[in-house]
């Protein structure tokens, strides 16, 4: 099945203000309506609508055989999705927390990711695995991880991380339409509102944030296209998910003219936008919440070094979480917040 272009240009479409959960729900609803092959499944997603309520109302509207609860079995959920994909469905399984994807890892890594390759295109696994990820909600070490790097390491998987309601909807639609398996990591810290990195300093809610203006109906944002959140010249910031907001807030606070790039998809990566920006600014700051060692920042840093070396005017800066599990009571000390980002910015500015 091929999908047509957005029927309306975005400027013409009427809009609504949604938070991220509502935007995801809207995307699922639209895709279920457009394509009878889209099915939604996962622990508690049916009657209850998921523990974060992202699938609320979908079962009532689309029926029990298209939106259903599953056994608590991540290898079952993903393995079944592989089979459904092979039949011709487009399953959108939910893994309740990214921390619980590991029991399903073999099905994802050895099966879903390689089905097309090993069958020379005879079978595909067009699934979108949605999963809330990241910390900042006192979830302890088993409800806070950011395992995205592990998936970017797997050939055959695409990895998407939206940072706002508008993108979440468009990217999820694109992911569901994609014929390859996609991991769609939803930063749960910003489900209900953006975050500036200060756990004690409020931010404006989604209802007043420009990125919560979501066109009605169908639209998609192509995978592999980054977004320049804010153009600038002092240095390039590469971030995704929650950290886009935190990095932007710190840059604004420090009054630096940074160019902030929201990567939106890690695989495929919009290397062109990254390259162009670093060539212009000559400096690069990478921010992510995941553990530092072998995190996706390491890949970004290597790419920038390989491709922009002669334009660089300072060492590449990486701001990340620490190489420890996510600690419950010290989670705000773990979180790569304004101080850690601020120090990196100071080093870059002085360089």
């Amino acid at each position: 099945m091929t999908y047509e272009e957005s029927p309306v240009s975005l400027s013409e479409a009427p809009t609504r203000r949604l938070n991220m959960i509502e935007a995801i729900n809207d995307a699922l609803d639209i895709m279920m309506e457009r394509d009878p092959n889209v099915v939604v499944m996962g622990e508690d997603v049916g009657y209850f609508g998921g523990v974060f309520r992202a699938t609320a109302g979908l079962q009532k509207k689309h029926g029990k055989t298209r939106v259903f609860d599953t056994p608590i079995s991540e290898c079952g959920i993903i393995g079944v999705a592989v089979g459904m994909g092979a039949y011709g469905l487009r399953p959108v399984p939910e893994i309740q927390f990214a921390d619980y994807i590991y029991p399903g890892l073999d099905q994802l890594v050895s099966e879903a990711a390689r089905l097309r390759y090993r069958s020379a295109g005879e079978f595909i696994a067009p699934m979108t695995v949605r999963s809330p990820f990241g910390g900042g909600i006192f979830g302890g070490q088993t409800h806070s991880q950011s395992p995205e790097a592990m998936f970017t390491h797997v050939a055959g998987l695409k990895t998407v991380v939206p940072s706002n309601p508008h993108d979440a909807k468009g990217l999820l639609i694109a992911a569901i339409e994609d014929n390859d398996p996609v991991i769609f990591f939803e930063p749960k810290r910003i489900y209900n509102g953006p975050f500036n990195g200060y756990y004690d300093k409020p931010v404006e809610p989604w209802s007043r944030h420009a990125d919560s203006v979501v066109p009605e109906g169908y639209y998609s944002i192509p995978l592999g296209k980054a977004r320049i959140v804010r153009p600038g010249n002092a240095f390039t910031v590469l971030a995704y998910g929650t950290m886009v907001h935190v990095a932007a807030a710190v840059c604004a606070e420090k009054g630096v003219d940074a160019e902030i790039i929201d990567l939106r998809t890690l695989v495929p990566l919009d290397i062109e936008t990254v390259e162009k920006s670093v060539e212009k600014t000559g400096k690069c700051l990478i921010v992510h919440e995941a553990t530092r060692t072998s995190g996706f920042g390491a890949e970004l840093s290597a790419l920038v070094q390989e491709r922009c070396f002669y334009h660089l005017e300072a060492p590449i800066e990486r701001v990340t979480g620490f190489d420890t599990p996510y600690p419950h009571s010290l989670e705000w000390a773990y979180f790569p917040g304004p101080v850690r980002i601020g120090e990196a910015i100071d080093r870059l500015t002085k360089a």
């Binding site: 622990e43 055989t65 259903f68 079995s73 302890g140 088993t142 419950h328 009571s329 000390a333």
Partner: protein, 427 residues
């Protein structure tokens, strides 16, 4: 994609389980088969596994409608032991109530009660030896309480405060107490099952006498880990007791999503060729007897046992859950197996060994005991009020020795602390 029709074959249809009752529905439990107490045979502990298989479909019960203990499964406990059991279950409930309120008052981030399921942890803990190793899930606080683990330590962990032995790292209720034979709890469901088997195998390899016991919710039996554990235990005849706490609900998903419409959970034992018992999980005497039977069996190298505790989760899944959204409020009220604490209380009263007045006095005493433990723990701080742990502790125990990257990051964290929280002086 459209379905292909082949002649006049009927189209296939998918079955998606649906619980019997949703919010607002009138509850009718007449489909639950409750055999009379005392009617179940008690095979010899050395029997072949298949001799227990009828018990996988039955329900072992000891306490009858008249609150008397009957039948071959009566563990014949003395009044003193019964009172201790009652007290421990009541203490567990008092503890849960207080901690639940503590979460609502913002003293911690999260809590999970075991209301209605107290017998499934307290009675097995009493039937096991104190040095048998338990691999619990997150709803077995009753084991720690039975083994005399200090309440203050439990609360310190829940508050993630400066006296928390786990250094504020774990989600509240995810205790670890090696000295009490209590394995560290994981938030990742079912992982403890193969680990318990491994511990039991090791004990056998070493010619030890200690056995292992592990707990899982019925929902989590769908995980691959459950089935791997069963296979290993069967293959090596591991001295392990598998407890499945079938409390009917896994967050919003009823037990049908773990396969309960087709077979009992105890019947999982049949396919693996191990012993299985389905027990009234709200009958503390039956639970005690089943554990005692399985422990004797394991200890005499007769093999592993799977015990399904048929019970009901009377409260929400956790403080983050609202069960009114997905199930009838009547379910709890009408649960046909009653309240395990009340049943044991009535039994002791029927024996002439207890009274309502004694119960009321004990309850008051337990509330005070929990209250004073709470006060004591609060002296060490509550979650969110202060940074209770030195920042370097965050980097400890990742490895035995601190590698360069963690040293660097530890210095970074301490530097950040001075900037972010200048009011805290210690590193």
């Amino acid at each position: 994609m459209t379905a292909k029709s082949r002649g006049n074959l009927p189209p296939l249809s998918l079955h998606v389980p649906e619980p019997k009752f949703r919010p607002g529905d009138v509850v009718d439990y007449s489909h639950i088969q409750i055999p009379p107490a005392g009617a179940q045979a008690r095979p010899d502990e050395q029997c072949t596994a298949s001799d227990t298989h009828p018990l996988c479909l039955d329900l072992v019960r000891v306490l009858g409608e008249d609150h008397r203990a009957v039948g071959p499964w009566d563990p014949k406990l003395d009044a003193e032991t019964l009172r201790r059991m009652l007290r421990t279950m009541a203490l567990t409930r008092a503890f849960d109530d207080r901690m639940y309120r503590g979460q609502r008052q913002g003293k911690t981030s999260f809590y999970m009660k075991c209301t209605g399921e107290e017998a499934t942890s307290v009675a097995p803990a009493m039937a096991l030896a104190a040095d048998d190793m338990v691999f619990p899930s997150y709803r077995q606080q009753g084991i720690l309480i039975s083994r005399g683990y200090p309440l203050v330590e439990m609360i310190n962990q829940i508050y993630s405060n400066r006296a928390d032995k786990l250094k504020g790292r774990q989600l509240p209720i995810m205790y670890s107490a090696r000295d009490y034979g209590f394995f560290t709890i994981s938030g990742n469901l079912a992982t403890q099952y193969p680990q318990a088997v491994g511990w039991a195998m090791a004990s056998a390899i070493k010619g030890d006498t200690r056995i292992a016991a592990t707990w899982i919710g019925e929902g989590s039996t769908a995980e691959g880990d459950f089935h791997s554990a069963m296979t290993f235990a069967a293959v090596y005849n591991a001295p392990v007791i598998f407890n499945v706490v079938n409390n009917q609900w896994a967050i919003s998903s009823f037990s049908g999503f773990a396969g309960a419409e087709r077979a009992t959970f105890a019947a999982r034992a049949i396919g693996y060729g191990i012993a299985g018992i389905r027990v009234d999980g709200n009958d503390p005497l039956a639970v005690y007897a089943a554990t005692e039977w399985a422990a004797n069996r394991a200890r005499s190298n007769a093999g592993p046992t799977l015990i399904e505790h048929f019970t009901y989760r009377a409260e929400g899944h956790s403080t983050s859950d609202d069960p009114a959204q997905y199930r009838s409020a009547q379910e709890r009220e009408e649960w046909p197996l009653g309240d395990p604490i009340n049943r044991l209380k009535q039994h002791l009263i029927a024996l002439g060994e207890w009274s309502e007045e004694q119960q009321a006095a004990m309850d008051r005493e337990l509330v005070d005991q929990v209250k004073s433990a709470t006060k004591e723990a609060e002296k060490n701080g509550i979650l969110g009020h202060g940074l209770h742990h030195p920042f370097h502790t965050m980097f400890e125990d990742v490895f035995e020795e601190l590698p360069w990257n963690l040293k660097e990051q530890s210095e970074q964290a301490i530097r950040e602390r001075r900037i972010k929280w200048p009011e805290w002086k210690d590193a």
